[in-house]
């Protein structure tokens, strides 16, 4: 009896241990590899509304941000359904864990008709496109997406940024022609500057001195040393350190090709192991050590960071808009990038016009790809974007000189704005231009952007599209290198790693084949130039 019990016990134990490895696979469904769409195209009308005479339901997978309400309650989707005769059934996955849910959709091959606000990476688009799970969209765009096509003709970099070397487009980006929506402004507490009789900092040394004064001279006048001289987002692991991206320009470190890359004389240089980068990390380390940088810089949540913006107890921080500190907005003003020790003055951090890559994609199970393309295209017009961003006229917004503004009544309800629009939380597939920017680009933000404008790089190359094999290689290299760079930079800044180890850091980057990665980017750049 006892022996038997033991046998069962051991069985129960080994098996789960072995199964651990297999648990992430669980897929054998191979339902419909055919990328050709079955007929159904006849439903779609070529132009005008409704898009179809016969009501159609599309299933879409989407990300719901903490600020959003349910998509089915958003006026834009309710009204648009009436307009188009297309009902969209949204599966909403919260931002936390969205990435893994999305991956599992593809891995299990249980796909929706389309992915909305999906934030596909270039690798994902190429990989799932090559495997046939995402369908190529270039012909559909030509025929059924006049608004999008117009934008792509007007800004050729959009097309080059989303087309694979084989000439396919597997995902549509969110397009931002409004410059101010592509940069994080450098906000500085002008009330404190004035109170302490300080000048606007022009160099990194000035900035250091100003931050010291913010720390020591009690600018908020409460007798306590509770000011946070400078803070920034903590960032998402695997996506770079915001503070590095925001300060690199002052040290001559640009961010070309969507990566830590400088381009000079047609030569691509990945600068992570360079001396300039060392200087920058040393500067940030100095700030951190002297408590000029927020000690919670690496651990704070997004909510904590936003609260700091609104608290007025912060000297310098970075954000795209002033939306998070509206009640005390007069305290802050935009700052130009400070000039570094070698005189570099660059706003390195900025997104390309196709800002949100992979915002929308159509899968091979969609029976109505033409209809789906027409459905999404509307949001790339001013009219559609207004509807998406502002909701219902009268109820949510009013037109002033033809430009939509949220009504004061609507704005007075706290939290209501993010509930009605899928753009709150970022990444929605639509057009952001001057016309729809009254809320995110008020005069204060425009002014802050003007401070940055003279220091923008002359050309900004978007991240290149690789073919599948190269994309896989880049992914393998970058998985290791990016993780390493992020960890080590964090440690350098926080002082957990001494700069004596810099040589070792450089050597390890070499060992991780950073040269090979640089070569791949160089090739991609050369092809792009041709």
């Amino acid at each position: 009896m006892r022996k038997q019990w033991k046998k069962i016990a051991i069985g129960t134990m080994i098996v789960p241990a072995l199964a651990l490895a297999g648990c992430s696979s669980g897929n054998n469904g191979n339902n419909g590899n055919a990328s050709a769409s079955p007929s159904g195209s006849s439903v779609v009308s070529e132009t005008g509304f409704p898009l179809t005479e016969k009501p159609v339901t599309l299933k879409m997978f989407t990300r719901i941000a903490p600020a959003n309400g349910p998509f089915k309650d958003m006026p834009v989707f309710q009204d648009y359904e009436k307009m188009t005769n297309v009902h969209v059934d949204f599966t909403e996955a919260p931002t936390d864990g969205f990435q893994e849910k999305k991956n599992l959709l593809f891995a299990s091959n249980e796909l929706p008709d389309a992915l909305y606000r999906s934030g596909l990476t270039q690798l994902e688009a190429t990989r799932y496109g090559a495997s046939g799970q995402l369908i190529p969209l270039e012909d559909l765009i030509d025929k059924y997406a006049p608004n999008l096509k117009k934008l792509m003709d007007e800004y050729p970099e959009i097309r080059s940024g989303i087309t694979t070397p084989e000439g396919h487009i597997y995902a549509i980006p969110g397009i931002v022609t409004l410059g101010a929506a592509r940069t994080d402004k450098k906000w500085i507490n002008q009330a404190w500057l004035k109170k302490l009789g300080l000048q606007m900092p022009e160099t990194t040394d000035d900035l250091y001195n100003v931050l010291v004064a913010f720390r020591d001279k009690d600018p908020n006048g409460n007798g306590k040393q509770d000011e946070i001289p400078m803070t920034a987002r903590a960032g998402t692991p695997g996506q770079g350190l915001p503070i590095v991206n925001l300060m690199s320009g002052s040290f001559g470190l640009d961010q070309q090709l969507g990566y830590n890359i400088n381009i000079a004389d047609d030569k691509v240089e990945i600068w992570m192991g360079s001396d300039r980068n060392k200087e920058m990390l040393q500067y940030l380390n100095k700030l951190y050590k002297e408590k000029l940088l927020d000690p919670q810089l690496f651990s704070q949540t997004e909510a904590q960071y936003l609260a700091k913006q609104g608290s007025g107890a912060t000297g310098v921080f970075f954000d795209q808009t002033n939306n998070n500190f509206l009640p005390i907005q007069d305290q802050y003003t935009g700052m130009a990038p400070p000039a570094g020790p070698h005189g570099d003055r660059l706003q390195a951090q900025a997104s390309p016009i196709a800002r949100d890559f992979g915002a929308f994609a159509i899968t091979n199970v969609d029976k109505y790809p033409e209809l789906t393309m027409r459905w999404i295209d509307y949001f790339y017009s001013d009219e559609g974007s207004t509807m998406l961003r502002f909701g219902r006229e009268g109820e949510n917004y009013e037109l002033r000189d033809g430009v939509p503004y949220y009504t004061d009544k609507f704005l007075s309800v706290e939290g209501a704005q993010g509930k009605i629009t899928p753009y709150a939380g970022g990444g929605a597939p639509h057009l952001i231009d001057d016309h729809v920017a009254s809320f995110i680009n008020p005069p204060q933000v425009q002014e802050a952007q003007e401070k940055l404008d003279p220091y923008m790089p002359k050309v900004r190359y978007a991240a290149p599209m690789f073919d599948e094999a190269t994309a896989q290689k880049v992914n393998e290299l970058r998985n290791d290198i990016d993780k390493y760079y992020e960890e080590q930079s964090t440690k350098f800044i926080a002082g957990a790693l001494s700069f004596d180890k810099w040589d070792e850091f450089q050597k390890t980057l070499k060992k991780m084949n950073i040269d090979e990665l640089q070569k791949i980017y160089q090739d991609a750049y050369d092809t792009m130039k041709k």
């Binding site: 022996k3 033991k6 046998k7 016990a9 051991i10 069985g11 134990m13 080994i14 098996v15 789960p16 241990a17 072995l18 199964a19 651990l20 490895a21 297999g22 648990c23 992430s24 696979s25 669980g26 897929n27 054998n28 469904g29 191979n30 590899n33 990435q99 893994e100 991956n103 599992l104 593809f106 891995a107 299990s108 091959n109 994902e124 990989r127 799932y128 495997s131 046939g132 799970q133 692991p237 695997g238 000690p295 919670q296 690496f298 651990s299 992914n475 393998e476 998985n479 290791d480 993780k483 390493y484 992020e486 960890e487 964090t490 440690k491 926080a494 957990a496 390890t508 060992k511 991780m512």
Partner: protein
Amino acid sequence: MKSALDQAEAVQGAAAAAVRLTPRRGRLLREMAKRYDLYLMLLLPIGWYLLFQYGPLYGLQIAFKNFSPAKGILASEWVGLDNFHRFFDSYYFNRLLWNTFTINLFSMLVAFPIPIALALICNEIPSRKFGKWLQNITFIPHFMSVVVIVGILNVFLSPETGPINALIEALGGQPIRFLEDASWFKPIFIGSNIWQNMGWQSIIYIAALSGVNPQLYEAAKMDGASRLRRVWHVSLPGIVPVIVIMLILDIGHFMDIGFEKILLMQNNLNIEASDVISTFVYTTGIQKGEYSYTAAIGLFNSVINLILLLLVNRFARKVSETSLW
């Protein structure tokens, strides 16, 4: 000596079994027919194992393939040991292995004896009421979810608002950023694990202790054994078989404990000490979609686990006559 005897017995048994093979099988069937209702009940767990434990083993083959979801498991291209090579050559290989090993080893060294000690204490406390109270207090934390536990850690250890650092500062020290310091990670992780689980794990020992023959205690008392002596010579030997079984069971989980908790506590500043195989599999495999690569890592992990288990079981059988099989 013992093992020679065992062997002799085994040989005899085998010979006897060979002789009686056919009648025995008939008896088994008759037996099964007679108690068919019990065997029917067994079908459910067996089905569960086949479906959820053995079934997924089929997917293990993707460790040797370049898995593409659209092609499916079978049709994906075979790449042999490439995925394993990539892992062994990876910069993170040594660190992952080291952390996985040391975290588990220290957990085992420190955390394993504590529930035993707790059980012995509970057993010796004269007041039953206090004993029960102690038991309850210590096992309540077991029912808290990992997220809550890590939340508690964050609050208590926060350098700005946490009571621990407030105490350190009151005593004239500098606040310590416990959760952003690689050298603090393992003590905090293991310490909080002990706090959370010691009560729960002691239950089985308390149960085993209640099964020790009271006559043995009385005899020891007669012989003038002190309380400590009685614990040492009666209680402890009485539960050694259970201890060994528990140890082997723990080894069975050696390579995969605490995944969620480590992931929740992990950040760039402590990752040197907190990066373990299971979290690496999650961040690379699930979040970045590298299924084949991480299946290979997972398989490697499981194989090490299995080897450890076999070794410990053999060792336990040699030294203590108690083992799982």
